[in-house]
Amino acid sequence: MSDFSSTQEQLKKGALTLPDLVENYLDRIEQKNPQINAYVSVDGDAARKEAEVIQKKIRNGSAGRLAGAVVGVKDVICEKGKVTSCASNILRNFESVYDATVIEKLRSEDAILLGRLNMDEFAMGSSSENTIYGPVRNPHDDSKVSGGSSGGSAAAVAGELCNIALGSDTGGSIRQPASYCGVVGVKPTYGRVSRHGLVAYASSFDCIGPLAHSVRDCAELLSTIAGFDPNDNTSSGLDVPDYASGLESSGTLRVGVPEEYFGEGLDDGVRKIVEDVIAQLEKDEKFNLVPIRIPHMKYSIATYYILATAEASSNLARYDGVRYGHRGDIDEVRKELRQEKEAIEDKIELADAAGKNDLIEEMAKVDSPLIRLYKKSRTEGFGREVKRRILLGTYVLSAGYYDAYYAKAQKVRRLIKQDFDTAFSKVDVIVSPTAPTPAFDIGSNIDDPIQMYLNDIYTTSANLAGNCGISVPAGTHPDGLPVGIQFMGDKYQESKILQAGYLVEQMLR
């Protein structure tokens, strides 16, 4: 397994050159990607050119801290001049006119951006099947999903099609696919990494984070992309520690074990793996286990799907076909409207007086061409899951329903935050499974949204509270698939979850 940190050492020693490394990845992509379907586009020429430039810097000792990182970028993060489609038909040909802040930061530290990664449309999904590019396949078993929504990111790392990937996590979209694909994934604290250039799904939840082969690699990447950004009012001004150098710090970690995360619905195989790891932690003097409660955790899925869809319904309003993106055919719109009106006119001629009035009202309700064009563009542009969430979100914000859904969910969100605040006054990190099951069969949940949403049961709470979380490989399921373990940390306590993840990684090695 060629992780980024050891690759960088090889490069520094001269045992490997960056152009060769890039060529290796491009070869592997050519061989493996048709099957895994992680990349939706690869810019080999740009990567080769960059590799030459950075190789020179490595030789003269001026290379940035990410020299040797060959990075795949989830197709939800804007790169100037590249198609940023969010795996959606509505943005199929949309080229971003600017770089996301994280992209600028990666470039300035000499990371090579290799290509764009497949995902669930607008980051909505847990399987990377909701995509115009076809489903991502799990590198461990191509009949299984990669998880989602950052399925392309997890699969690209697991399939060694890049050594680090950027993903985004709104309800578990980095951690769950990391678990399914057997890689490390970090969801930073909300506000730790700038969202500028991250196409918004649910603005108060969305986080950009790394997926990689090792905790150290994630720590390296996080140190680079974290920090205040004047372009994002929700980014934090707190100093960014050097996460990698803190991995081996001594001292004991108090680990909270919340019973709510080990209840019904947890797959037996997953339970056994996670409990085995916890049992090992218990024997290790570096850990101190503490039973805790997160009583409102049981409401997290419902709360999450109300608040996230509400924000999504507003965030996705801009995709209207007016300024960019897919636009329905205006001639077809006009034709449809003409036919509808003619049909009503025909009926009016035959109707009695009372019927006539109804029909006249019906006529008045026929859409204007503008409204119909919006409808057509969005109907053709969005996939089923995105439409479902826009409708859900629109509903929960509507007059008469707002208090029962949105306002109530906001209150529950506060209660969940309080639960975590209480827990983190006693422990440093909280341990749980990352997902209730290992990767499932492609196609098996696609028509059952509720079952699909339950994949996020252990991850959404960190997004609701704004906390950080990491998924680290914990073992292999009896059916041969990887299973991850999650550590959650308090706000801006990335060092602690990275440290916990690193220790588990070492323990299981």
């Binding site: 940023t84 943005l91 209207d320 914000l397």
Partner: protein, 481 residues
Amino acid sequence: MSTIAHEKYEAVIGLEVHAQLLTESKAFAPVSTEFGGAPNTQVTPLCLGHPGTLPVLNENLVRYTIRMGLATDCKIAEKSIFARKNYFYPDLPKGYQISQYETPICYDGSIHIEMEDYDKTIGLTRIHMEEDAGKSIHDQDPTDTLVDLNRAGVPLIEIVSEPDIRTPQEAYAYLIKIKQIVQYLEICDGNMEEGSLRCDANVSVRLRGQEKFGTRTELKNMNSFRNVERAIQFEIERQIELIESGGEVVQQTLLWDPNKLETRQMRTKEEAHDYRYFPEPDIPPVIVGEEMLDEVRSELPEMPDVRLERFINELKLNEEDARTLTENRQLADYYEGVLQHLDDPKAVANLVMTEVLRVLNEESIDIRQFPIGTERLAELIALKKDDKINSSAMQQIFNHMLKNGDSAMDLAEEMNLLQVSDTGFIEPIIDDVIEQNPDEVKRFQDGKKQLIGFFIGQVMQRSKGKANPQQVREIITKKLN
């Protein structure tokens, strides 16, 4: 409609005023707000609603709004939040407008208005911050609507009054007062015709003495101060007539047609939007601490009412003059600027109110564009005050000063208008005039004393305006008696 019917009713009016703020950059994007740029040139990816863009709050939007809040005795919320107002329209690129909903930054204020025979205080419900939409242009292309997004994201405040206004005239006075305040605060240019100040009105009528409000209608598209007054007048009469003839007022939005001088329906209550407001997640709550309040307070200028009192009490101007001079801040500043160089409030007021205002009116310019600086004007008035020139000379010099930058003294010399009080120069002229007009002298001496003007005029003419008329009068009077 009979006036009797009219008197049975009273109107209840509330105004919603939007003021476009004069910040240099937009509310949430670092790009110019200047008016008149080529379409779609003053835009960032955010203004275009591009994916991944985030609003970044312009602190001056907050400060300017607090200025308005403090100037209208509002309470300032320690913590207020932005909200999204969701609706689809081509000139609204994000599909939502960033505004404030449940927690406005300013609330519970008031504005004082003076009517001809009474004064009144109009309550302010709230003042909140929001962004403007772009501009849809329907009349430039035969088939398509064009959209200019230069205005998208320009900061606005919305000032919402309590339903305290009872007549169209009060509405007019209230609006004029808002204009005066925003101009004093230098946060908005207050121009309704250009749309930097916009007003919607909620109007209902009820029987006098009745407590319950009648059904209201909302009036839009009134793009001048007078149109607001007219539209409200029209709407009050329409509602009374409707009720008197047995009908019922329907809650709806009406557009004022300034050409036909009538209102027409825009949408009914059933068609009203559900804007699905919710807290804007991209902008943290706005926290206003004591420190910021103190800072903004220290930036506040003297407000018009206070200045008016001072002009009357300290500068001893009469109320009418003081009112004219304080009507807009720049004029008052100019006036006081002149006083800095010449401490004669009355004399300076006279010239500013006559000559200066005349030029401003004739040229349709702002006092800021007026070519004579305060120091030069003071010098001119001083020449007159020191009897170095007479009033007609002052006017001639003033007119020249408009065209070039010479000082009043230089011009007076150049134009040979300096008054001569030297009797050796004046007496021979007077003697000539007396000698050459024996008839008039006789009539004067017979008692037609108003002929003194004739003699003075003759002398002035012959002296080419240089004689001091006061002195001329004295000498002539002495000589003829």
